[in-house]
Amino acid sequence: MTTVQHISAGRRVKDRLAQGLVYLAFALAVVPLVSVLWLVIKNGLARFDVEFLTHSMRNIGARDAGGGAYHAIIGTLEQVLLASLISVPIGLLTAIYLTEYGNGGRLSRAISFFVDVMTGVPSVVTGLFVLAFWILFLGMPFSGLAGALALSILMMPTVVRSAEEMLRLVPNDLREASYALGVAKWRTIVKVVLPTAFTGIVTGVMLAVARVAGETAPLLLTVFFTDSINNDPFSGPQMGLPLYVFDQAGRPNDTAIDRAWTGALTLILIVMLLNLVARLIAWWRSPARGR
């Protein structure tokens, strides 16, 4: 208490004011989150029923109630799975190159820099790229696979960054112990380094999946729209859950808006669940849990 008295009133007021502003800023940031979640839950629960989860929009007229997002949920799951199958091996190998083989050379610095830049590529641009390359240039049809390609480009930099971070956390002692036993470098990486970093890498991949699962713009340009169930991501137009929300939100009827909210609720549940599981794995495995 005695020290406080030496500080002049003006400085004390400034200090308090700054503290108030900082607290206010945090409150301001949390308000939209609470508002969004609250409205999504409140409005989404109205149609969150068995019919929504098990039916498509086939033969549902513009003003009809009912209908569901089954076709969109299937589409999203397949597209995200395909995107992961493409991006995880590429991303993981790139991370291995950067940590184990790159040694700070020119190529590895270039790759590292462009991975960072790639995280900033707008999602709509990846959709346009797949449209320009896959659909217009190669003449492939609109399909779930085209959407997955766009999503995989978005996923790659996230996977690289998180995997790289995890690989760098693996103590060098482990690598050297393995080398000392005469194990080749690549087998050391596969048998020692990757297993050590495994949970961390899984966390990173899940966060990347959560990020792309909510992306609409790339799908809009690549999978086209459909109201019917299409289980085959390799042929014919598909739907995706974010795309479904966008489609329904753009329609004027209340029944469509209701469906949009429920779609949003389903989407948020999927994304948040992925996020939460990923964070729990990360927290559970974190070596510095006490911090």
């Binding site: 700054a18 940031a29 949390v30 989150l33 462009f114 590529v121 080749a184 808006i257 909210w261």
Partner: protein, 326 residues
């Protein structure tokens, strides 16, 4: 230090074992290097194929691509990017002006004000903002934020209408640049806050304690030690946020009324952006129309690429500086 150990330990071991018994080393190394190069190829391919598919449409353009305000590639084949580019820059600027101070406050709160034990979970709360899909923000913006902003917009227009941004006659509020800007601000806040937080936490402990020992209050310590140290980091964080805001598509596609004009009035129903126009115009686009949209996407790609590269260069320079100082 660590890299030294690795090359000394890893280099010779690799060579010896590769020659004696391992047949997998070369293919594995090749695959890892190839994957890295593939990423570079993809980045180059994005530019190449956007250009190649945009050129036919640009050739067919009867207007001037950089200066025309109209966008009619499907009908009269006159289209220009001027109005869209303007809308992209203005809406992102609004977002940045709103988000940066709030994000800095959030970052300071997590790094220097919140109780240690709470800092982690509270930071996670802000990160959750980034996990909400953009289409959900769009839906929220259209149904909740747009009506909410009507009254404040009318008030601003009535009292500060002399200020060009708040000027305008007739309909005030609704689907405006302001509404779009606020939604964008919410969406870019987490990334700016997260990076700023990292930078603030890197402030040398000695500097902070020196300031406190000289009798500085907490705020004075932050102003003298933390903020100067973190300035480049905050600048690059804001630039990354700017890149995000410019590329953000679906949320603004739902909010902007898709007008094609250049107007500074952020309180009247105006607004469009390159990305929003791609999302809204793709459905009914003819082949020329698709080419035109790809051309606009190319412009967006180049702008965001420049902004991002600038931001990354600032961050990387900072990293080297921090490392040598440590």
């Amino acid at each position: 230090m660590t890299t030294d150990v690795r090359t000394r330990g890893g280099g010779p071991a690799t060579r010896r074992s590769a020659s004696r018994r391992s047949h997998g080393e070369a293919p594995f190394r090749f695959a890892a290097t190839g994957a890295g190069i593939l990423l570079l190829v993809i980045m180059a391919a994005i530019a190449v194929f956007l250009i190649s598919e945009a050129v036919p449409a640009l050739r067919a353009n009867k207007g001037s691509f950089f200066t025309d305000l109209t966008w009619e590639p499907n009908g009269s084949q006159v289209f220009g990017i001027a109005a869209l580019a303007f809308g992209t820059v203005l809406s992102s600027a609004i977002a940045l002006v709103i988000a940066t101070p709030v994000a800095m406050g959030v970052a300071l709160f997590i790094s220097h004000y919140a109780p240690r034990r709470m800092a982690g979970p509270l930071g996670y709360l802000v990160d959750l903002l980034a996990a909400v899909p953009s289409v959900v923000y769009g839906l929220w913006g259209v149904t909740f934020l747009v009506p909410l902003l009507k009254k404040p917009s009318e008030w601003l227009n009535a009292h500060f209408g002399w200020f060009p941004l708040f000027a305008g006659e007739g309909a005030i509020g609704g689907k405006t640049m302001l509404a779009g800007g606020v939604v964008l601000a919410i969406m870019i806040l987490p990334i700016i806050a997260a990076i700023s937080r990292e930078v603030f936490l890197q402030t040398p402990r000695m500097n902070e304690e020196a300031a406190l020992a000289l009798g500085a209050t907490r705020w004075e310590m932050i102003r003298m030690a933390v903020l100067p140290f973190g300035r480049p980091g905050v600048v690059s964080a804001a630039m990354l946020g700017l890149g995000r805001a410019m590329g953000e598509t679906i949320a603004v596609a739902l909010i902007f009324p898709a007008t094609f004009d250049i107007s500074f009035e952020i309180l009247t129903p105006h607004g469009n952006s390159i990305a929003a126009n791609i999302a809204n115009g793709f459905g009914e686009a003819t082949p020329i129309g698709r080419g035109a949209l790809i051309a606009s996407g190319l412009v967006l790609f180049v702008i965001t690429l420049l902004v991002n590269m600038g931001a990354r260069m600032i961050i990387n320079r900072r990293k080297e500086y921090a490392r040598s100082g440590a």
